[in-house]
């Protein structure tokens, strides 16, 4: 599973494309828990939403390896 990282999420993860090779992550919620456990700085530095296939996803939404997944920290355009 590949996860795109932007803004402060890229700084926290240390790369712009994170590859997760792990069974059992099949929902947005599951992915969020995995990310916070693996990179505890998320708790300290920022909140984030998760996008699946270029749209904001709900916690219960499914994720599969073929989805385009992205970590969306608080936006600040404009």
């Amino acid at each position: 599973m590949t996860v795109l990282c932007f803004g402060i999420a890229r700084d926290i993860v240390g790369q712009s494309k994170l590859t997760i090779d792990r069974e059992g992550i099949n929902s947005v919620e599951g992915l969020r828990h995995f990310l916070i456990e693996t990179f505890p700085k998320f708790k300290e530095y920022t909140s984030f939403r998760i996008a699946v296939n270029q749209a904001f996803a709900s916690e219960k939404d499914e994720v599969t390896n073929s989805d385009e997944i992205a970590i969306i920290p608080p936006v600040s355009g404009g």
């Binding site: 402060i8 530095y45 355009g77 404009g78």
Partner: protein, 142 residues
Amino acid sequence: MEDNKLNIKLTNDPLNLSECYRFVVEPSCGGINAFVGTVRQWNKGEEITHLDFESYEPMAIAELEKIAKKAKDQFNTQKICIHHRLGKVAITEIAVIITVSCKHRKAAFQACEFIIDQLKKDVPIWKKEFLSNGSYWVNARP
């Protein structure tokens, strides 16, 4: 929303208000509102040297299209143009331009303000502020 009614662009080049204005002019419209966001020199008492914008481009464009569609439905806009700058942007340079044309002026004001408010909430664009003594992602702290 038809392609000839909506113009969305994310670009590393300087933005141009005349271009955004010309796109929305219509014989059926009497009111055009434009919002231009420029880079301020000061933020909360700290001097900024420049900004750097990055974006999740395909999703940013998809979100902007959704916002424009909502604005059209709510305010009966005729044409909408949204241009956002990416990369390094200097003080007083333009970060974003939104232009909206409507039959009457009130709707143009409302639609333009709606679009910039929604853009700042939901469009995946991130701004890094550079000060003389460091830099940080705006809004990142919870």
